[in-house]
Subunit: 399 residues, 2 copies
């Protein structure tokens, strides 16, 4: 990861993310603000959402080796790190590059617009108290940031004792992640109901998930096959997708292989190499993914603005706002299709009527401004020219 | 398999099956005959149903190595055997012990009450023309009989071109089998819709199914893991049971391992040894299974006889048979529960009303004889004394 070519690419990546941020700030955000987009959908993007390195989230039951694996990749300890056979990591740790080693408490990190964590405020103080950012120098952190998570516990402990919605928090990180690593312990395979729920919450992110069957060197090859088979048997049923998830089998930490699995050494080394190669490929893919997500968001912003202004135009001037708005919201599918046909929009770009309607209850539709053609054209320009140009640069960089 | 201890056990097994046959003939069959049991449920048992060695059925797509595996176990060719990279086995072959090598055509085999194939007549001549019994001397055949099946083909070919219901035939063999081996080719893994349907038809026999991932030496260890993982991923969804099916991985024929999988030689040898040990355990388990099945059948025979005689007693003496019978059949659940309570029977021993009703349409209930207390007592005696005594002997033999 400290290879100069990788560093150079990382710098180009940062420059492209800067351009992307500029496009968002200049051409998309103004339209979002006018029509209160964040209160309908997801919060507005902060500079931190663009500056961030690709994000790798590690999840799994306790003691499967999540923290040890991060430690191995960092080639050093990180502040706040705790490794033990007991449930040990009790906070969510964001591990990112920094010139000096320091930790930033969750509450402070979440108000810093330069970081990609402002969205976490919605999970409340009880969560933010259990969130911490660790900054430290390590070659891999120039390319990737990590989220270490507390082990998923079985039974009621998981949700209630923790005082925040663990699944929702994991889903939040997962939807922003470039890679979701789900670790299992080959020596003690166990797919609890809680873990199943988390995996189900990750539906839709299947393409980002990779499985790690860790500590596979602690059992003999035949046993290892049985465990791996049982894992696949269960995962296929939980994940349901016909596409088989990639599983990396081995021992992912800085210790030599155990005796029991020694005869699989070649296999484990090949698997480790494959996993590292996958992580190395992330920065490039991450940039393309960010662009795609911004394009999706921009399309929704446009639809949203057209919808709001279409509904606004039907609101009465003086009184009867409430009743009229209720009538309009009751026939949203009809209004949606008018807007869709009038503007030649794709049906798939429209939000769920229920979502729109829920957001609209907090607003008087009449209070939205008239749609500014200029702003719409600026955004169309971003979608039609600026972003494709950026993507072309990326493709060049990739080849 | 030619070990003297195994031979001795095989002879004791045969003696026990003889006793079981005698119990059936003397104490169960008479009651079956009186109340036309075979026309309601399954055909009457012939001597061949008791004399048979444990049965192992091999299924899988074409060219996965079913025939080659049997050949390997026999340590010789069998008459009718065809091995090739093309779909080659085009008949169902029953491979059983015989002093001299010979084949018996399906039509002849199915009318021979000394063989366990009389039930196959229901699949008609188009199937029997595609069925053949091979008799030959081979040590393993003293302990086990095999059914080699034609590879399951994809698309319409499977059912239509063959002119008989392949799935139903496989299900017939599977329900009589002691072990169902489902083979896959690691080099060309493919779970066609036809195969999925066959696996679904095997539901209820999960405990008898073992999977063989064959030709696993033809790919390198990492690839082998991916294939195995993909197999488990899909199987878990098709078979659905939470219990993971046992998969034997290796190369199951008489050739040395290929270069690609050489590093897995220990694993493959261990797997082969496990599979052979499993086959060796079959004769003992098979005897217990036959007894259990006969007990289940006897319970149903008793319930059936009591039901028929209960309904018969309500039939009018002279006319109105048809109308009365229709009324009785329309309220079977009520009549069932009367019989159940009056005789202290288990609800689970009763047939589905629809099944009983379908069988009854071919009979005038009034024509059934009065229930003979003597016959019922004989059968109760078999269930309460003769069969438990036989089981006790088996347990002794096992310890
Ligand atoms: N690859 C490995 N092989 C064998 N043991 C390992 C491996 N990785 C970690 N361990 C051991 O497993 C235990 C748990 O490790 P670690 O704390 O990293 O797991 P974790 O998943 O972060 O747990 P938690 O969810 O509680 O934070 C420790 O004792 C550690 O030394
Ligand atoms: N363990 C093995 N490793 C490699 N090749 C094998 C193995 N077993 C069989 N083969 C080869 O695979 C091909 C198919 O074998 P075989 O005819 O036994 O399969 P089958 O499942 O019986 O096919 P069919 O369903 O058409 O009867 C043959 O060329 C055979 O030599
Ligand atoms: Mg940890
Ligand atoms: Mg064959």
């Amino acid at each position: 990861f400290s290879d100069p070519a990788v560093r150079a690419r990382r710098e180009r990546h940062a420059a492209m993310m800067d351009s992307l941020k500029d496009i968002y700030m200049a051409k998309i955000k103004p339209l979002e603000t006018q029509f209160a987009f964040p209160s309908f959908y997801s919060s507005e993007m902060s500079p931190g959402d663009f500056d961030t390195a690709p994000l790798v989230v590690l999840i799994g039951q306790y003691s499967v080796g999540k923290t040890s694996f991060i430690r191995y990749l960092l080639e050093r300890d990180f502040p706040g790190q705790r490794v033990s056979v007991e449930p040990s990591t009790d906070k969510f740790h964001a591990i990112t590059a920094g010139r000096v080693e320091r930790t930033i408490p969750g509450n402070a990190a979440a108000v810093d617009a330069a970081r990609p964590f402002t969205g976490l405020t919605k999970f409340g103080t009880s969560f933010l108290n259990r969130f911490e950012v660790a900054e430290l120098p390590s070659p891999i952190l120039d390319a990737i940031s990590f989220i270490d998570t507390p082990g998923i516990l079985s039974g009621e402990k998981n949700r209630i004792e923790r005082g925040y919605d663990v699944e929702a928090v994991i889903e939040w990180f997962a939807s922003r992640a470039d890679r979701i690593l789900v670790l299992f312990d080959a020596h003690k395979l166990d797919i609890s109901d809680e873990l199943k729920r988390v995996l189900e919450a990750l539906k839709g992110h299947d393409d980002k998930i990779r499985i790690i069957l860790n500590k596979a060197d602690s059992i003999d090859p035949q046993k290892m096959l049985r465990v791996y088979g049982a894992l696949m048997w269960s995962l296929g049923k939980v994940v349901r997708s016909p596409e088989v998830l990639r599983v990396y089998i081995g021992s992912f930490w800085d210790q030599p292989l155990a005796e029991a699995g020694a005869s699989n050494a070649d296999l484990f080394n090949a698997e480790k190499a494959d996993l590292l190669a996958d992580l190395r490929s992330l920065p490039r893919n991450a940039a393309v993914r960010r662009v795609n997500e911004l394009v999706k968001r921009a399309r929704l912003v446009k639809v949203h603005a057209l919808l709001c202004s279409h509904l606004r135009d039907q609101m009465p001037y003086f009184y009867g706002h409430k009743e009229k708005q209720a009538r309009l919201l009751a026939r949203l599918p009809l209004e949606f299709s008018k807007v869709q046909r009038a503007n030649g929009l794709a049906v798939g770009d429209f939000p769920k009527p229920a979502r729109f309607s829920a957001g609209a209850t907090a607003h008087d539709l009449a209070s939205f401004p008239k749609l500014s053609r200029r702003l719409v054209e600026a955004m169309d320009g971003a979608l039609a020219r600026d972003i494709p140009a950026l993507l072309a640069t990326m493709q060049e960089d990739a080849s």
